[in-house]
């Protein structure tokens, strides 16, 4: 039956050629060599892949989504986040909060070595901070540090030095703030201000060979742009015995089907870029289920209503929209990744309070709000409602192309009609961030640092409104909310701060500049031989301190493989990655 074999191969080739991957039984995980032994083992290269790419590696210019994963391995910071998102010491052994919260004094570890062998001192910390906040660096996160004394001066080029950051001896750094700022420390945990080697110079340059004090280093020639990067162990890393891995390797621009097949055969060790159906299969397969876990939810999706434009200048219409959306239906678009949302701050973000009453689906209440707004609608006859179509802007081929179609169905039930306009992403940004342009749009926010301020201030504070490039895309202005957020930002007492943010969330939920629809959560699966890996609440694929426990027969790409994969059908060489 040669022709049947040929036909099967032809189908497999067709599937592979269009990057689809054909259904079949999942391969079993490649087992750990010593599953019962918890002692970490040194050695091995951990392989990761992504469908995306990155252009530059530099803490002062984090421009692509993948960069933090690589940065986290190369650069160590004064502080970092622990497994629950709390700020913990890293290069700084400890810190003191002085002057009632206006000054932070960091005490550095002695003897920390950069990848080039130089010792890391307070001067390097000061130089790196100045370099990252100088306007010559295309730093998208610079504004997080505007409370540092001298920030405005260096940004406006009135000064070349950051006056508020000083070295007080070889191992002490002082940071002075203009005012008390409870977000300073959480924001400092990000990679933006992390110390870089002296070779980086005092000003940003995109030709610099990345060099820091993190657990892995990039050797010359280690980055084949657009294809692959390999980081090798920094033997002078300040934590004794760490890291365990010899190297970490990322491949870029690898489509999701290829990633899945490589992962199944053990040529990739972790997987996050799932297609929806694949994700559900991995989650439901009893062999793979124990090897997968959700990352913390740190992304919220919503429908943004422009509060300056009719009909959403009427709070009752906004409340009607918030009550009309059936979030369980939205979740079903990608059940493996989405969870119904009713609050602005995702539950896993430090400072979130999932017990607060959020927006929820209630068609009766939505109709009541329409009545109060002056546009009663009778679902039985289809009479009434808002008489004009509402312009809704989305970009092509994103999740919102699906959510808007369900939204349109839900809003039709309360007498609101959408006029959907699909544009490319740059046009979407230009239209939705500009004053008076779009009545309604899909919106979302992803955590930068684990703190409630990171969600509420940039999205709903009136300070975030701007004629041309507004982060507050609902153009929502509420003096009471502004005052609460300003107070919470200056409040250092955690319970008081929590109370203020709870109250702020209550206002946003009730006045509904956004109708929150879903939290997005990523799912990680790893091979059984990847040990010591746990999803981190801030850093995706933080594998710096994982270790490999692979038997000699299960080296990369040599895992036993049945005939159900495309490569098997293609008759490919066994073990080819």
């Amino acid at each position: 039956m040669r022709w049947t074999r040929d036909a099967a191969r032809a189908v497999a080739i067709a599937c592979a050629a269009v990057g689809l991957g054909c259904a079949g039984e999942l391969e079993p995980p490649v087992p750990a060599a010593h599953p019962d032994d918890p002692t970490p083992r040194r050695g091995g290269v951990l392989h990761l892949a992504s469908f995306a790419d990155m252009r530059v590696i530099d803490p002062a210019n984090i421009a692509d989504g993948l960069v933090p994963r690589v940065n986290q391995a190369i650069f160590a910071g004064l502080v970092d986040y622990d497994g629950s998102g709390r700020v913990v010491p890293d290069l700084a052994e400890r810190w003191e909060v002085l002057d009632g919260g206006r000054r932070y004094r960091f005490f550095l570890r002695a003897g920390v070595r950069f990848h080039d062998g130089e010792e890391l001192t307070a001067d390097d910390v000061v130089r790196s901070m100045e370099r990252a906040l100088h306007p010559s660096a295309p730093n998208p996160y610079a504004s997080f540090y505007e409370s540092i004394v001298g920030f405005a001066e260096i940004q406006d080029k009135k000064s070349e030095a950051l006056a508020g950051v000083t070295a007080e001896g070889k191992y002490v750094v002082d940071v002075r703030l203009k005012d008390v700022d409870a977000t300073f420390l959480p924001a400092l945990g990000l990679q933006v201000l992390r110390p870089v080697c002296k070779s980086a110079g005092r000003r940003y340059s995109d030709t610099w060979q990345p060099c820091g004090a993190g657990p892995f280093k990039l050797l010359p020639g280690g980055w084949d742009k657009g294809r692959q990067i390999t980081l090798v162990r920094h033997d002078g890393y300040f934590r004794p015995g760490l890291p365990y891995l010899d190297a970490i390797s990322w491949s870029f621009l690898v489509n999701t089907a290829t990633q899945r097949f490589k992962f199944e055969t053990g040529a990739l060790d972790l997987l996050q870029d799932f297609r929806q159906a694949e994700l559900l299969r991995f989650q439901r397969d009893p062999r793979w289920k124990p090897l997968g876990e959700y990352e913390a939810e740190r992304q919220v999706g919503a429908e943004s209503m422009n509060t300056e434009l009719a009909p959403f200048d009427n709070v009752e219409i906004r409340r009607a929209v918030a009550a009309a959306i059936d979030r369980d239906h939205i979740r079903l678009i990608r059940p493996g990744n989405l969870r119904a949302a009713g609050l602005p701050i995702p539950p896993a973000v430090l400072g979130a309070n999932p017990s607060l009453p959020g927006q929820r689906y209630d068609l009766g209440a939505a109709l009541e709000h329409m009545k109060k707004a002056g546009y009663p609608y009778d679902p039985a006859t289809g009479r009434g409602g808002y008489p004009h179509p509402i312009r809704y802007v989305i970009y092509r081929q994103g999740l919102s192309e699906y959510t808007v179609q369900l939204l349109a169905q839900d809003l039709a039930k309360i007498g609101l009609r959408l006029d959907v306009q699909v544009v490319n992403y740059p046009s979407y940004l230009a239209i939705t961030h500009r004053r008076g342009k779009a009545q309604m749009t899909s919106a979302g926010w992803q955590q930068d640092y684990p703190d409630p301020s990171d969600f509420l201030d940039p999205l709903f504070h009136s300070r975030a409104i701007n004629d041309e490039d507004s982060n507050n895309v609902a153009f929502y202005k509420n003096p009471r909310l502004d005052a609460l957020l300003d107070r919470a930002r200056r409040e250092l007492d955690p319970p008081t701060r929590q109370r203020l943010y709870d109250e702020a969330q209550g206002i946003v939920v009730d006045e509904a500049p956004w109708a929150f629809t879903h939290y997005y959560r990523w799912y990680d699966a790893h091979q059984a031989y990847v040990r010591g890996y746990k999803p981190h609440p801030v850093w995706t694929h933080n594998v710096s301190f994982s270790w490999l426990d692979r038997g000699p027969s299960a080296q990369a790409g040599l895992a036993p493989r049945g005939p159900s994969t495309v490569l098997g059908l293609l008759g490919g060489r066994r073990g080819a990655p």
Partner: protein, 334 residues
């Protein structure tokens, strides 16, 4: 009668006709017989126990799509869009192509208008200035170009030499330039220039880009026909050029035109699908096969019907029109 006999004997024609007839029947009757609305999600029946869209069942003949709507109803409505766009865009493109081809072919070799070299240079400079500098210098240069055609200046400028612009040369060089662009790139560039896409804009995009091949073929045919005796006779009897073109030339190129048009429908359907697949087609929730194919590829391993159904329809319709065209060509050429 010979043509009819040859058509009946042609396997290509018969298979193509059946496929096209089935497609038309699907487009006309599908939305009528579909048990569900193509725009409404059904969360009660279309969600499988493992929270995926249900596959083909008695309720959902071709399964449900990613937001739990009836795939059959959407495909049937998509068939209407595909067919109407394919046929109307072909009519537009073929008419335009025929017009350009007939004019170019009929006037091939005729004397054109002599344009001074100064005018040509000024016009070219105006074009470059328009792209790289701005409107004001471009307008100024264009004014210089026009001025250089005025008799007193033109006479002096004549010393610089000139070029002869004839209808055939101008039209065919324009066709050459447009054909030099990759078709899909051109279609997408024009599509992207519209702020929103509707069936009308898709028709426009496909219509204005799809006539180039037709123009070339028609021109070649007209160049043969215009020297035949009946055209010479009509001309010597004093018939006007438009009348000659309409009454004597056009009927004699109808055979190739019909063949080109039939094959062109397939190309238009494919082009519309590609545009939709790439996200440059009609806006949601309008169902288009190309966009359904795009959606289906992500769900392939869990819901393969979402991929195969639109793929099969695109394949069948393109194959159908191509076979039909091939059968017609064999019958009409022989």
């Amino acid at each position: 009668m010979a043509v009819t006999r040859r058509l009946k004997r042609s396997v290509s024609f018969r298979v193509g006709l059946v496929l096209v007839a089935l497609l038309v029947a699907f487009a006309v009757l599908g939305p009528v017989v579909a048990p569900r609305d193509p725009f409404t999600s059904d969360f009660a029946r279309a969600v499988s126990p493992d929270e995926m869209p249900v596959g083909p069942t008695r309720d959902f003949w071709l399964g449900a799509d990613l937001i739990y709507r009836d795939q059959f109803a959407r495909l049937a409505l998509g068939a209407r869009y595909s067919l109407v766009i394919g046929v109307v865009a072909t009519l537009l493109a073929t008419s335009l192509g025929a017009l350009v081809g007939v004019v170019a072919g009929y006037y091939e070799g005729a004397r054109g208008v002599r344009v001074g070299r100064a005018t040509v240079v000024a016009l070219a400079a105006a074009f470059v200035a328009w792209i790289y500098v701005g409107n004001a210098p471009a307008i100024a240069l264009a004014a210089v170009a026009i001025a250089s055609t005025l008799p007193p200046i033109a006479k002096r400028a004549e010393r610089l030499g000139g070029v002869e612009l004839d209808a055939d040369g101008v039209l065919m060089r324009a066709v050459d330039v447009l054909l030099a662009f990759p078709f899909l790139l051109l279609v997408m560039a024009i599509g992207a220039a519209f702020e929103r896409t509707s069936p009308a804009t898709i028709l426009f995009v496909l219509g204005v880009t799809g006539w180039l091949g037709t123009a070339r073929v028609v021109r070649a045919k007209v160049m043969q026909i215009r020297h035949l005796e009946f055209v010479t006779a009509a001309r010597s009897l004093g018939q006007s050029t438009p009348r000659i073109l309409l009454r004597h030339v056009l009927p004699n190129i109808s055979g190739p035109l019909v063949v080109i048009a039939t094959v062109s429908v397939a190309q238009m359907i494919l082009a519309e699908s590609v545009l939709s697949y790439l996200g440059a087609g009609m806006e949601p929730p309008t169902p288009t096969w190309g966009h359904m194919l795009f959606e289906g590829q992500d769900a392939y391993t869990g819901a393969p019907w979402l991929l195969w159904a639109p793929a099969a329809l695109i394949l069948a319709s393109v194959l159908g029109f191509n076979l039909l065209g091939e059968g017609l060509r064999d019958a009409l050429d022989a």
